[in-house]
Symmetry: C2
Subunit: 354 residues, 2 copies
């Protein structure tokens, strides 16, 4: 079996995570070396057991190394275009961290140069292999809740936004580009169509120039709506997912896939009794009794942890059709641009059809 | 002590509930009789122990009864204007079920006729005395979470929308008018300003001509946002309230006021460790450890259950300044109109300042 030799460009938090958690575990890959503008990261690479930690000290040295087949670009977001362009022209296949670019125009440039140089550009949309997401996707694909009416996809943190370049707009900081890109990508991948329109509110509670959270509402043809919610100052998180189907509701509480499905039982024998609720009475909002619902377990999906790198290998070596299509990545970029414009102008933005 | 003699106009689900649960318990009131266009409701009134159940068989008989001081109007929403106008002209003080009117223009007519005839018109915005709401309001008033950044107020039912007139638009059906009116009223009452703009999506999953649920986003000056969420086909409800403050998060799960407050502890000794989350790594979204948060109980408020009727008595008999101001009720009507227009046009609607 051919091994892919891959150099890590940008050996920070994410670059070292890729090395330690995926590349080291995957027999199809060798790390040919690293490059970082911060000299102290070479010691970190050595500590992490990277054999060739000291091999490259410039991007040009990687480009000139014939044994290096591919690069992982895990640098700040505003430098992706420069590195993708450079390594594509050097004939290296590329994995690029998300967001791949700061704009759809930048991404179009990247696609052009990669196409021209016949190299693979795969964006690290690894959260297509999140077990929670795939569990939702399976419900959708199998129509397990009837027609999906609404999806609420939330990631609510309690640690503020990271203190590094992720606080600055020109660097591509902010939570839309950090987490929104994943959560939107999941919907672009799962759903057959793009939203017709979006409405987005950015939050600036922490007082930085970038969004420290947001709510994005995506409206689809046929009545489906999707809310994407991201927070960084939330100490009692809501469930990761709530899915409202015509025939039932599913909740996934957390990354550990706690949760379940509840569906109603309709029968003449089951009467709805009104309840005292607050200072008033309600039948509409009365809780259902135990005998008027059926609870079931989530049909959990457990993807291969190294699926992303296996996919990259198959696309590069075996010319597999990529799962992460460039048209999808482009649509994610366009939805994020629409969301940003919506937040800035406080307007609903229509998504152009392609 | 003077007793108020009150006739119940519309002895359906809500009218009989008022009689059984509030008027019967309140020594300041006597039920002078009922009126319903459905003759079978007189038997229900007798069964419920209303002494004068058979006294009135037309609205004119109530108007002509000098001993009747006031009426409760609990008829379908599209008949409120007719009854309010009629009884105001007859000099009766009025409690009217919510929504008081189908439009702000209708409500303006009501105010004019009540003002001219010097009668009190009090809208049954009883959910200003909901314990859950007052518990949130107390946190707001006491600044218990620091600056409020976002409020999510939800009522998620599992019983569909009621099968009677509430399914029809011309009758004033739909969940915005049924529950939205309460949840918006709570915010109009609690917050010092109106939202600057609103965005609303109506849901039609049940296939009726009226909304069977909705999401309303209200944007306030200074960055506060409020989401109001109502569903009628949800089998795993989210918490009744999530309040995101600058200094902590509060959750009220349900009508029983389960929930609590969690605030962060910031200290150099507390390090945030990244976690494996799905197919990736995150420090931003890592859960906080037990020692990095402080949990506390909700400071629960327990209002007098009969507060609404006591308020009506005080306003009518003692000329107390009303807690439920007509300007507030008018603002609720205007926000609902803006929400409806927003949902229909899929546009953000600016709220006019007064």
């Amino acid at each position: 079996m051919k091994k892919l030799n891959l150099a890590i460009v940008g050996y920070g938090g994410m670059g070292s995570y890729h090395g330690n958690n995926y590349l080291r575990e995957n027999a199809k890959f060798e790390i040919s070396g690293i490059f970082d503008i911060d000299a102290s990261r070479y010691a970190a690479a050595r500590e992490n057991g990277i054999e060739n930690y000291d091999r490259f000290h410039s991007k040009e040295e990687i480009a000139a190394d014939a044994s290096t087949d591919a690069v992982l670009i895990a640098t700040p977001n505003d430098s992706h275009l420069e590195y993708v362009t450079f390594f594509a022209q050097a004939g290296k296949h590329i994995i690029c961290e998300k967001p791949v670019a700061l704009s759809s125009a930048e991404y179009a440039q990247m696609l052009e140069v990669c196409d021209k140089n016949k190299v693979v550009l795969m964006v690290h949309q690894n959260r297509r292999w999140d077990p929670d997401f795939l569990t939702v996707k399976k419900m959708y694909d199998k129509n397990a809740l009837g027609k999906f009416c609404r999806i609420e996809s939330r990631v609510q943190g309690a640690n503020g936004i990271p203190g590094d370049w992720r606080k600055f707009e020109e660097k591509g900081g902010g939570m839309m580009l950090d987490w929104g890109v994943h959560l939107i990508d999941q919907m672009v991948y799962m759903l057959p169509e793009l939203p017709e329109s979006v409405y987005c509110r950015y939050f600036y509670g922490a007082g930085f120039e970038v969004d420290d959270g947001f709510r994005l509402e995506m409206n689809y043809n046929g009545g489906l709506s999707v809310e994407i919610a991201v927070d960084t100052n939330c100490f009692i998180p809501l469930p990761r997912w709530t899915v409202y189907g015509a025939d039932g509701t599913a909740v996934i509480e957390d990354w550990a896939l706690n949760g379940g499905i509840v569906k109603p039982v309709y029968s003449k024998d089951i009467k709805i009794a009104g309840i005292q609720a607050g200072n008033g009475f309600t039948k509409t909002m009365a809780y259902r009794t135990a005998e008027s619902v059926v609870k079931s377990e989530l049909d959990k999906v457990s993807p291969e942890p190294n699926a992303f790198y296996n996919e990259f290998y198959d696309v590069v070596v075996d010319h597999k059709e990529p799962l992460i299509r460039s048209s999808e990545v482009m649509n994610v970029m366009k939805i994020m641009e629409a969301a940003k414009r919506s937040a800035k102008e406080n307007q609903v933005i229509t998504i152009a059809r392609h």
